[in-house]
Each structure stands twice: as C-alpha cells, then as structure tokens.
Amino acid sequence: MDVTREIFWNVGNVALIVYILSAIVVFILVYGFYKRVKLWRVGKEEKRGDFIWERVKSVLLFGFGHKKTLNETYPGISHFILFWGFVILFLGTLIIFLQEDVFSPIFNLFFLHGNFYLWFSLILDFSGALAIIGVLLALYRRYVIKPDRLDNIFDDFFSLILILLVLVTGFLTEGARIAATRPDFERWSFFGWHIALLFNPSWIEVASLLVWHKIFWWVHLGLAFLLIGYLGYSKLLHIFSSSLSLFFRSFEPKGKLKPILDIENQESFGVSKVEEFSWRQLLDADACTRCGRCQDICPAYLSEKPLSPKKLIQDLKTNLLLSSKSLKKENPEEKRPHLVGQSISEDELWSCTTCFACQETCPVFVEHLQKVIDLRRYLVLMEAKFPQELTPMFKNLETNYNPWAFGFATRADWTKGLEVKSLSEDNDVEILFWVGCSGSFDDRSKKVSKALVKILRKANINFGILGNEEKCCGEPARRIGNEYLGQILIQQNIEVLKNYGVKKILFTCPHGYNTFKNEYPQFGGEFEVFHHTDFILDLIQKGRLKIEKKINGDLTYHDSCYLGRYNDIYDSPREILKHISDGKIKEMERKREKSFCCGAGGGRMWMEENLGKRINQLRVMEAEKTDAKTIASACPYCLTMLSDGIKEKGLEEKLETKDIAELVASLL
C-alpha cells in the first residue's frame, strides 16, 4: 500500500463545488480588504515607498518573527504559536492544492506520498495542535484572566471560537478518516491517530463512521470558508493591515514631528476630519489589534486621565467608519461625529505627555504621536482652543522667548559671577553650550547649568553661550501644537547660530537636544549636537575629566523620555553613574524603553494637572521603592517634576534628585 491518502476520500466528487465555493469566499475576503484599502486612501498623500528591503525585513522580523509581540511572554507565545500553527496549516493546504490540481493533472507528478507524506502529516498535525493551544491560551487570558487592557467585544469571541472550531473539526475529520481506514503509517499523524482511537469499533461501526466523517468534513469546510470570508470584515483583518503597517512603518528619527511646510501660505492647519490624516495614519486605525499594550504603559492612562492610546486609535477608527458615507461623493452632507470634541475629547489630547511609550511598545508600529500633535495643531492654530494656562505661556514665548514671564534681557543673569563668555564677545569656541529656558531661568535648573560650566572648565573646554540672543528652542510650542510659534523660534535661532558659524552644540535639556538633532534639519539648521550625558562620559573616558572622589549612597536613574526612548541614550548616564558612585545603582521597575514619564513632556509642564493622579508622584513612589538615596536624572523637566513629587510626598528626608551634571560637578 502506498503511504498517502486520497484527497477527497469518502466525500465523493466534490472538487468542483469546493473550488467554486473557494473562489466565492476568496472574492468576499478580497472585496472586504479592497473596501478597507479604499477607506484608508481617502487620507492624504504620504511617501513611504523608500527603503524597500528594510520594509520587507520589518515584515519578516516583526510580523513573521513576532519580535515585539514576544516582548511579553504569555500573550507573545500564545499569539506566536497560533500564528505559526496557522501559517503551516495554510502552507499544507497549499501543498495539497498544488498536488491535486497542478502537479497531478498537468505534470502527472505525484509527490505527496512516502516519507514526504509522513513528515507532512506529522508537521501539520503538530501545527494544528499548537494552534489549538494558542487559541485556548488566548481564550483563557481574555475571559478568565481578563487583563484590564483588553476590552472584549463579540468579534473577539467569535473570531477565537471560529478558529478553534475550524481546528477541532479538522482533527475530528482526520480522526474519523484514520479510524475508518486505519493504515498503520498514520501513526505519524500523531494527534489524528489518537483521536481515531476514540472512535473505537466497539461502539461505532465503520458505516456510521463514514457518515460522521462526511459530516465533519463538510462542517470543517464550511467553518473554514466562514473564517476566510470573515477575515476581511473583522479584527482578523489585522493579519493584512498590521503587516502593511509593518511594511509602511516610519524610518524617520523617532523624535521628529512632521512639519507644516510653507506654513504662511496654508489655509487650514492640523487635522479636524479623518480625511485630513494621511493614508498611513488611517491605516493605523485598522492595523491596531486592540492588544492594549500601549494603554498598559501610558502614563496618562495609568494616572487616571481620560487618555488611552489604544482608545484613541479605536475612536479614530470608529470615526473613520462613521465618516465613510459622507466621504463618498454622493453623500457629502451625511452627518458624522466631530473628530475632535466628539470622537476624541480635548482633555484626551491635552493629557498626552508625548512620552513615546505607546509607540515604542506597539507591536505593529501604530503611530499615535503625530496624530495627537495633528489634532492639537488643529485646536491651537485653527480654533485657538487650549487649556487657558497656555495663553500666557505662548505670549511669553512671543515676547520674551521663554515660556515663563522672565524678560529676555535677563536670560544670561544666571552667569553672574561666573564670567561665561557669550558668542557676541568671542565666537571662537570649540562648542556652544545651549543653556535652554529651564537652565537659564528655573532656579533648580540653573544649578545644573552652573555645574556643567564647572565641568567644562575642569576639562578645559573652550565653550561659549548665546546669552540674551538665545531663544526658546521652540520644542514646547511645537509639541503643544503651536507649530507657527515653534517655527518662528526655530528659524530665529538658526539665523543667529549661522551668523556665528556655530557647528557643535551641547545641551543639558533632552528636549532641546532632540529638537535640534531631529527637527532643526527640517528647517535648514544642521548642527552637531551632544547631550551632556554623552559628552561628560566621553570626557571621563578620554581622561579629560579626572574624578577621584565618589558619591556615597545608592542611586537610581530615571530615564528621560526624550533622551531614552526618543534618542536611545540609555547607557551613557548609567556609565557615568558607575564611574562616580560608591554605592549601588538600583534600577526602578520601569526603566529604559519602558521608563515612566515624569509628566512634563508635550507641554504638560505648563498645563495644570487637574485630572487623575499626579504622574510625578507615581514615579517618585516607584523610585522610593528602590531604597536609593538619590534619583539621578538628566533633564530639567524631570528634575523639576521629581523634585516637586518628592516634596508633595513629603520624602525630602529620604530622597533627593540630582542631575548627573550636578553629581559629577560635586566631585570636582
């Protein structure tokens, strides 16, 4: 007997019907998909056609390889085995199709037999079993563990059950077939063989087994077709949409906002209707799998503010679907909810700290941040609607080039007694120290500026500052959505810097650093920029800075979002701490890529925190758990927020916070 099986065994001559049905369901699937593609394409143009090979690699690595999905063990593994189980089953079905309808009839070639058949059966059987385990794990997680980040809708239940039933009926069909025929080699179909053992001749005759097989076969086929048809209209669409999202991911620097180009000559600004987003941004609405990882890590959500990045994307999707009628030409007047105000509330938008945690963690590269900024831009630029605390902040930026009410002529007052030279006196310097607004005006941060001056002098660096010619880098205004004001400041700064022929710039503020590094080039400002953590480490390693003493007591390090997640500077600050510390470096639970924001980014520094808990306090409490004496940080916002948090929590006796520059300077 040949080691193989007959494809349409026991079900008669149904090939034609099956193929006609297949064609129909595939058409239904493709149609559903096509309709989605059309929906995304109401969005504006956006170029994502470069780096083709990198894009393919993204799909392989993050899609097939589950690179980010596997960052979390349980959900990662359950999805991985379900996915790969299905991929292999799909390939198996493809092989059967090729054998039956291509190689046999056309080339008279028969390969699905002998050892190949045995291995084929074994692998497919195990894949099916793995997929079942994957579904069961997913069901258990969704309906028994019920993590907060998952919201359950019918689609979730139906999809999982449908997949489960397709798999189970597949095994039942196989089991019945094997039970009825019992060739010994089918032991290789490990699970099918054991199911076959259940159909014991002692209680079921071969004749009724044949009937049962037929029933299982048709039910399995019907369910499989239902699943395929359902794909294009359900959450399962993410198989395609998320893959597209991976393919069309951004290769721009993370900390770069899309500019509004030629802003003076535009008529509308920001986004108030779905169609004003780009097609790529609309694709996100379907790419999002509602996995909730972004929500789980979002400081706004965790501090009980109205924002959840997952909900934001879903609300966008709902609006897109509700808008789809009015987007058609025949129905332009069809009523639809306002994107800002109804689908997504203003409070949600103002709650975002732009910490980038959502985007960093999202397994399918959904881009939340640009959307938040686009919607904010609409509110600020078109409607002039924003938390009222921001009005004086904008006006201060306009008249005094800093977000607080300090006269611009007092910008260099912190240098009194230090004799720091400004470029207007002498522009022959190695590097420009960009002091920034916090470093110039905020009492706490001025100490950091002074510490850095001390360090630079010890290391014999010939540096200068812009003094009163320095203006806010434009970052806060831009992140709040005031692109116009942001661009004005950026352009004015670039002009001054170019006049002095500045090439290298050193920052204590990660926000200034990020915007100069990633955004100034958009406006023609190309400079070589350094954050003081990288710079100081380099001085230590090159021996230009000799540190003989050590800091006492344990330290913990708080990652600034704009230094860490935005610019991948995680190690330099930690390295410096190792150099200067006597005690241990005790990491907080959330660190590096998963670090928890201090609460001040995205312009939140200048907004009241009236909703929910205070983010800075949550972070300070986390730091307290490490039992470290000092929270080292490397950002003026973090410094302010953490200092405030320590005071608010009454922990001054136990805990203090210091910028890394201060710690280093204290040893010189």
Binding site: F269, M382, E383, A384, T399, N400, G407
Partner: protein, 265 residues
C-alpha cells in the same frame, strides 16, 4: 453695532527699565513692546460684543510707527479695522493731548461704544478714558469687571470695582466709554488664520494734518504735564526673617521693626 477700542503699545511688563544718561527718558533699545494688557481685556470685550450683536470693531491707537504692530495683533484676534494716529509731532503727548487726538479721530467715525483699558501699564496715569469722555461728551464707567448690554442695545450695565474693593453696578446709556479691569474676561489667543488675515487688513494712518491740528496743540508743546526728570525707584531691600523660638519675643521684635524701621504702625 460700531465698537471702537482704544489701545496703547507699551513696553512688555517684564522689561528691565533703564533710564538714559541725562534722565530725560528711558532707554528704548532692546525693549519688546506689547499691547497694553488692560486694553486686551477691552478688545476681547469688543470682539465678544461684535460676535453677539454683529457690527464692527475698530482699533485705534496713538503711537510711533512701531504701534502698527500692536494694531496688527488686535486685528489678528478679531478687530476689523485699524486706525493709527501716527505723526512725529504727537510724540510726548500727555494723557490730555492723547485723549484730544483720539477724540478727534473717533468723532469722525460711527461708534456705539468705546472700550479701553483702565490704565496703561507704562505710565499708569489712568486718565485718557476720562478726558476722552469729556471731549466726546459721553458717560463713562471705569475699572469695569463685568459688562452687560441691554437687549435694545441702548444702555449698558457695568460692574465696577471701587477704590475700597466694593462693587458698584452702574447703568448708563449708549454711546458710552468703558474702561476695562482685568477680570472682565479671558482674552483669546489669535488663531493662525486670524494672524494671516490680519496681515491683509487695512490700517488707516492719520497724521497731524489729517486731523486738522497744529503742531503746537499736540505733543510736548500741547501737553499740560511736563516730565522734568526720570529716575529709578530705589532697589527693594531683601526681606527679613525674624528668627527665634519664643513667639512673644518674635512678636516684640516684629512690632519694633514695623514701628521704627518700616514706620507703618
């Protein structure tokens, strides 16, 4: 409804004021100028009235060329027209002359209500609105914190803050002059389309001859107040913290200091 808002361009409140070498004025270099904050409340109220009752807001300002920028800022937040009283001979005008020139210009345009700030934050004279009322023969209410227009648009009810902090409700017929206090409203921020549109709005420039004045009637020559000399107030001394364990003792020192050093009790 025709709404006129008188504004003044003043040095930003954070400016470090310096006196020039001969004490005849302040150093103007490096000063950032803004719309007088009290005038911003007046403007906001004007724009709100327009939004509610329809009509037009005209912003009028006396000042050198740079004052155009202030007028432009007002056009960006919703004023429709600008009038700039701009002539070198106007320089040095005191409140009396300023009001005289403003009155002349305003009397040539239609108006139902005139709004302005309760004072300019530069010289803090708080006089122009009263002179203006006198020249135009109109009633006025100053330090207005709340404003209500009657439905027939014939009168306004204004809540004002008296010198002792007491509140008065005053009803006067229109046309009238209202001088705004800071709690009157929350001035808006200009939208970007507003800023762009403002660039295209017309600002009418009126000079000495346009207003039929002679050079002697305006500027320093026409003014009744002459500034002899400018000087900075003495630097404020650092605060003093009285240390001590015993409250009675501390109180005694405090009373002594208040009596002998501060001389206020």
């Amino acid at each position: 409804m025709n709404i006129v808002v008188c504004i003044k361009q003043v040095p930003d409140t954070e400016t470090k004021i310096q006196i020039n070498s001969d004490g005849s004025g302040i150093v103007t270099e490096g000063i950032k100028y803004v719309v007088n904050p009290y005038d911003e409340y007046a403007l906001e109220e004007g724009v709100r009235l327009k939004e509610k009752f329809g009509g037009e807001v005209t912003v009028i300002s006396l000042g050198p060329e740079r004052a155009k920028e202030a007028i432009r800022n007002c056009l960006a937040v919703g004023a429709d027209k600008g009038i700039h009283l701009n002539d070198p001979s106007f320089e040095g005008s005191d409140s009396y002359v300023t009001a005289k020139i403003l009155a002349k210009a305003i009397s040539e345009i239609p108006f139902d209500i005139i709004l302005t700030g309760k004072q300019g934050v530069d010289f803090d004279n708080s006089q122009v609105f009263a002179y203006l009322a006198n020249f135009l023969n109109l009633p006025f209410v100053s330090v207005v914190m709340d404003l209500e227009l009657s439905s027939d648009l014939k009168s306004v009810t204004a809540k004002r803050e008296g010198e002792g902090g007491e509140k008065e409700m005053i009803q006067i017929p229109l046309p009238a002059i209202i001088a705004a206090q800071k709690d009157l409203n929350q001035p808006r921020y200009a939208s970007l389309p507003g800023i762009m549109k403002a660039k295209k709005k017309e600002i009418k420039n009126l000079t000495l001859s346009d207003l039929d004045f002679s050079a002697d009637e305006v500027g320093e020559k026409g003014s009744r107040v002459k500034v002899k000399n400018y000087s900075l107030p003495p630097e404020r001394k650092a605060g003093q913290i009285i240390q001590g364990e015993d409250p009675t003792e501390v109180c005694e020192i405090l009373v002594k200091l208040l009596r002998e050093e501060a001389k206020i009790i």
